[in-house]
């Protein structure tokens, strides 16, 4: 890529940073330049976020239907899988799976609720009183 062709399509890093892009200058020599972004990158990044939003929405539906606990919502919101969440709360995966069900969630001890809330960076109240939006 030629230096003069380095794209400057503002997007995912707008206002925060610019990315280093290697490109060839007028003399054919490689130089480091800055790029504000590139449209194809913005598009594929958008797709990844859409997929995350989709999973959050599915979680909300499940909670509304009484099939999942608020933990599923916050897990998806934090882009986590059961195994990653289990790592963070330092519990076994099967325990986390149980807490993802309304029944298991109700039985959670305050100590564990606190651990979950801390990982999700929210107050315990917010986790316990979570109500899916209509």
């Amino acid at each position: 890529m030629k230096k003069k062709n380095v794209p400057q399509d503002e997007g995912i890093t707008a206002g925060i940073s610019r990315e280093v892009q290697y490109a060839v200058d007028e003399n054919g020599k490689y130089v480091k330049t800055f790029s504000k972004g590139w449209e194809p990158k913005n598009i594929v990044n958008d797709i990844a976020w859409q997929d995350i939003q989709e999973r959050v929405k599915e979680a909300v539906e499940k909670i509304k239907a009484g099939k999942a606990s608020p933990i599923l919502y916050y897990m998806q919101k934090n882009q986590m899988t059961v195994s990653l969440l289990a790592d963070y709360v330092e519990l076994s995966k099967w325990k986390v799976r149980r807490h993802l069900k309304p029944k298991g969630f109700k039985k959670l001890k305050p100590k564990h609720l606190e651990i979950y809330a801390k990982v999700f960076e929210i107050p315990v109240d917010e986790l316990v009183n979570y109500k899916p939006e209509e």
């Binding site: 890529m1 995912i12 990158k41 598009i43 997929d51 790592d87």
Partner: protein, 336 residues
């Protein structure tokens, strides 16, 4: 206390941190040279490793390897420490090292990096940054993929050093302890290139190197039927993200490698490497065309089979070009 550390914005975090640390100790090597000597260039498509239920594609070797190989090949000794489940000790040790006047490289999880743009904040744990000072509760941070130096609080830094998931940092920190007076760059370059040509041409498993690119092309053609329009576009988007995400310098590290080959031409006093550099630039541009084409397909979330077929064909062309290039490079380095 703030050490006199020069922030070097870089294409790739691992190279950027090493380049910065070595620069602090008086050894001026650029990122591209470190990337090439550390055999950073690669291709892998691994359907059995999933990221969010999508097959993993990588354009570089595994985290930590560039760094380990480059240091070894140049005779640089690094001190590396990890502190499993001992965050307090990890932070104390960092403070002690800073107090000795040494900037420190640190492995970090990207998800909780407060200064990152939201789009960078995924659960990716193999990020690297340099800590070069501390005042009160604040650490001075040089993150090579961010344009300017930045800061993190004690708690924020502790948190990213203990991110969980794949490749957990476990408080990993590192810094050079001895750098040889004279470095045999020619020998280091030879070793670096030899291994890269091996990676790209000779791994007897069809998932890696040039064969891996062809494998991805064959799979891609089947995606619209296999996954349906939506999921297929998520798969395609993932490939482009790996190709163009932060830290590649563009086109899946192909441009950084082309820059490396230009350096090699000077050091080896052989213009043939410049020709290969030009060829690599051309290949990088082809990868960019692929990204552009793929993003258009993704945007419409269309299952247009023709789109996937055309993209796959472009990949096959790229594979042929890369095969040719690395075969020539292999010959050239053998006789060097």
């Amino acid at each position: 206390m703030k050490l006199d550390y020069k922030h070097i914005p870089s294409g790739h975090c691992e190279n950027g941190v090493i380049a910065g640390l070595l620069n602090y100790h008086g050894l001026k090597l650029n990122e591209a040279l470190i990337f090439g000597i550390g055999s950073g260039l690669f291709f892998a498509h691994m359907p059995f490793i999933k990221i969010d239920s999508i097959a993993a594609t990588s354009f570089r070797t595994i985290p930590g390897m560039i760094f380990a190989k480059a240091a070894k090949r140049m005779g640089i000794k690094m001190k590396k420490q990890t502190f499993r489940k001992q965050p307090k000790r990890a932070m104390d040790e960092l403070d002690n090292t800073l107090n000795k006047g040494l900037p420190v490289g640190v492995q970090a999880g990207a998800f909780h990096l407060t200064y990152f743009p939201p789009a960078y904040r995924f659960h990716f744990n193999a990020h690297n940054l340099t800590v070069y000072g501390k005042e009160g509760d604040t650490y001075f941070i040089s993150d090579p993929v961010i344009e300017y130096p930045t800061t993190l609080t004690y708690d924020e830094l502790k948190r990213v050093r203990y991110a969980k998931g794949a490749f957990p940092p476990n408080g990993k920190m590192y810094y050079p302890i001895s750098i040889p007076e004279e470095i045999d760059l020619k020998s280091a370059i030879k070793k670096g290139i030899k291994q890269t040509t091996k990676y790209m041409l000779d791994i007897p498993v069809p998932l890696f190197g040039v064969k891996g690119i062809r494998y991805l092309a064959r799979s891609m053609k089947k995606w619209p039927e296999k996954f349906g329009p939506k999921k297929a576009s998520s798969h395609l988007a993932q490939v482009v993200r790996m190709l163009e995400e932060i830290g590649t310098g563009g086109a899946g590290f192909r441009f950084i490698y082309a820059a490396f080959l230009q350096e090699v031409a000077i050091i080896m006093k052989n213009d043939a490497y410049n020709e290969l550099s030009q060829e690599m630039t051309y290949i990088g541009d082809m990868w960019r065309d692929f990204s552009s084409m793929a993003a258009k397909i993704c945007k419409g979330r269309s299952a247009d089979k023709n789109g996937y077929n055309t993209a796959a064909h472009l990949l096959l062309d790229i594979a042929d070009k890369e095969e040719q290039l690395f075969t020539e490079l292999k010959k050239l380095i053998k006789n060097a």
